[in-house]
């Protein structure tokens, strides 16, 4: 390729009118070491483009962290979307709130009943106190039962999760067998 052609290509290059093929020619030309004086100023530009096109994700990163993170993620989402930890936390906080409320109520009722009994000191107060205590205890027991129900449900959820995870493990082994290169355990990857 002669110098005039290159100059003509360069002119069109800066106008954005060259094709990919022509740009390849320019890159190839500037890969040479012997560039005429007047064209040398363009050399770094094309050298830069060539060098950058060959950059890759760093080897170590590619094998270890990236691969593992992606595959971990891919494995996770292919089985389930709910985060078990989050769900458990939700139930726990609901139960805690219920308990606090119950304890508060019991104290309130107890206090109220005690004060009434002290001030009025009348006959029906024992019956009233009895009824109120009964009511409060009923509330506690009902509340506790609902709480227990939730716990039971949590257990079934956990069982189901275990099953799903086992299926997932099996699936991973299978794909590992089919495509051992890609699915290799990153920790053994050197």
């Amino acid at each position: 390729m002669n110098i005039n052609e290159i100059e003509e290509l360069l002119g069109r290059y800066y106008e954005g009118e060259t094709t990919l093929e022509e740009e390849k020619q320019l890159k190839d030309f500037f890969l040479q070491d012997d560039i005429p004086e007047n064209l040398r100023q363009h050399q770094p530009l094309f050298r830069f483009f060539i060098a950058e096109a060959n950059e890759t994700l760093s080897e170590e990163n590619q094998d270890a962290s990236l691969n593992r993170k992606i595959e971990q993620y891919l494995g996770e989402t292919s089985t389930l979307r709910v985060h078990p930890g989050k769900k458990r936390l939700y139930y726990m906080s609901a139960m805690a709130a219920g308990l606090v409320l119950l304890i508060g109520l019991v104290f309130l009722i107890k206090n109220e009943a005690g004060r009434k009994g002290y001030i009025e000191n009348t006959q029906p107060s024992t019956e009233l106190a009895y009824n109120q205590t009964r009511q409060a205890l009923m509330m506690v027991s009902v509340g506790l039962n609902t709480g227990l129900d939730e716990v039971q449900r949590l257990k079934t959820l956990e069982n189901a999760l275990g099953q799903i995870q086992r299926i997932n493990k099996f699936y991973n082994y299978q794909t590992q067998f089919i495509n051992p290169e890609r699915m290799q355990d990153p920790s053994t990857n050197k």
């Binding site: 954005g16 990919l20 950059e55």
Partner: protein, 171 residues
């Protein structure tokens, strides 16, 4: 699309995504994280991936959007524009700058370009994309891409050639 398809069709785009992300973010670590993010987004979308005309274009659009979001969220630019100018000018003052000094000068010159121009030059001159592909990724008309590319190339040339002692000496 299952895991195997994903591995053969999407995974090999990792280097291209990485280069593009690093061009925009100018930081390798952030770019590596971004590659992961792009893959995760694509995986979440795996049911619909077969409907796209080009997975590569989709990956590049995703990368572009994530990069622009990241850049917008940044409070301060990594390096100020002036630093890069000074770097380029300092090359000429070195006693015996060689070709590789000027090559890194091009990198700095590219950093001074506005985001859009930088993406265009990267996709065209480094990745060798057709104008049609670039227009697809950036959501522009092909002609507009051409005009912007020409302007950006001239801008780089302007920055590089304004140095008086641009001619490097060879060993």
């Amino acid at each position: 699309m299952n895991l195997q398809d994903f591995n053969t069709k999407v995974y090999p785009l990792k280097d291209k995504i990485f280069r593009f992300a690093r061009r925009m973010l100018e930081q390798s670590e952030e770019a590596e994280d971004l590659v992961q993010e792009v893959f995760i987004r694509m995986w979440k979308n795996r049911e619909k991936l077969d409907e796209y005309r080009s997975l590569e274009a989709l990956a590049m659009v995703t990368t572009k959007n994530l990069c622009l979001d990241k850049l917008k969220a940044r409070k301060f630019p990594v390096e100020s524009w002036n630093d890069q100018r000074q770097f380029i000018e300092s090359i000429a003052e070195e006693s015996r700058p060689d070709l590789s000094d000027f090559v890194s000068g091009v990198k700095q010159a590219m950093r001074t370009l506005p985001e859009h121009s930088r993406m265009i030059v990267h996709l065209r001159d480094i990745e060798g994309c057709e104008f049609e592909e670039i227009a697809d990724v950036l959501g522009m008309q092909e002609n507009a891409v051409r005009v912007a590319l020409s302007r950006a190339r001239k801008q780089i040339r302007g920055i590089l050639i304004n140095n008086k002692n641009y001619e490097y000496q060879r060993n």
